[in-house]
Symmetry: C2
Subunit: 260 residues, 2 copies
Amino acid sequence: MYRYKITFAYDGAGFSGFQIQPHKRTVEQTLKTAVNKIAKNPDPPLHVIGSGRTDAGVHALNQVAHFDMPYLIPDESMRKALNSILPLDILVKKAERVPNNFHARYDTHSKRYRYRVDQGEFVDPFKRLYTAHYKYPLDLAKMQRASQDLLGEHDFTSFVASGSQAQSNVRRIDDVLVRRDEINHEVIFEFEGNGFLYNQVRIMVALLLEIGNGQRPVDDIPRVLAAKDRQAARMTAPATGLYLVRVNYADSPAKNIDDC
Amino acid sequence: MYRYKITFAYDGAGFSGFQIQPHKRTVEQTLKTAVNKIAKNPDPPLHVIGSGRTDAGVHALNQVAHFDMPYLIPDESMRKALNSILPLDILVKKAERVPNNFHARYDTHSKRYRYRVDQGEFVDPFKRLYTAHYKYPLDLAKMQRASQDLLGEHDFTSFVASGSQAQSNVRRIDDVLVRRDEINHEVIFEFEGNGFLYNQVRIMVALLLEIGNGQRPVDDIPRVLAAKDRQAARMTAPATGLYLVRVNYADSPAKNIDDC
């Protein structure tokens, strides 16, 4: 068997999330069907292992997965074969042979997420599936200051949705960024870290929005972290604004893949 | 009865075009249902008259329609009432009382269309429903030169799709524009004129793309116009790239409505 790593984008609007579920259109199932078609539908079927799940409606610019193929196919041919089968809401940007011990989930070094908040007066029909809409004023400086309190290693119990199966809620955030996109009237959040709990990014964004709008004090994050209580953070920002920007592996520097 | 003019945007991806068709989700039907709900479902039902049709997949930034309401409702209340009922892929930007002799279709003075061509190497999953994809090189200067030959009054018989019910194929184009959007790697076409035949904009764009790619000479448009033969133009660009930007009426200068 030959192991391939693929890097791919998807528009999450048409999928019930990444993970296979019966009778639902999922990214994993769609990829699995394509990979098995290329492999001439072996029995038992081949599996596709993603770097991690994304929820229904969440997008990816550079998600990563691996699978094993019984035939040796040149990288570029593999990429083209997949794109010729996949629907247009998934695009394979890169396919590459990797050592058979590469694992898309276990070898993950860090991940980067982006969150887009549209500040238009109304919900823009063309952005409704690609941003969250928040029309109230936001103090960028406050959110930038507050976001620094998320950096480093913390117990993120206050930022995890019920339903998480994580054994530990300790994660490390290496980079946060809050900026305005003036052209598109958006506020953009980015987070990079060694892993994120279920709904963690969306809960962090919702809390930063409350700080930016003055509903919470700018120094509230240390208190919320210390509480280790989901009730301390309250809201979850909608799935539509969330993008998995990239997945970093020890041997694949981030610069390899275009983030946009 | 009180007549209202509404200006609205829609994401065409989820509609089988503007015009009502049985068992299809259309913009006209969706508006009609909302208007009748506000009017407490009179019998016979109220009609909604659009400025003109758009095809399945075609978008609108500022489409216009009118309807008559048995109750007098303040403009801003009407706009909010419609948006509270309408799905998020239609947004009413403005509602205004107009004289009872205003007619959204017959009083149209001119219309402006935009066409977005994505020049990325691959079909971007996030643009597949909002642009046409054309990865081959395009000579902007050639397309700009050629597009000038469309200006003025012409018989556009070579640029009309079969199925048109127009009695005359003579139309006037007042403005054409071809530019690059460097940020988004797109080429943008815009056309403003006193009316457009069925598929005319998409056929003009396809022909300009052939000129930009060197498949046709830069001075081919006068020949195609003179031929008065649909076979002379050949291709039709996809619906996904087309936007109705605005509809101008004699008494409503274009500046009233934001084009974006």
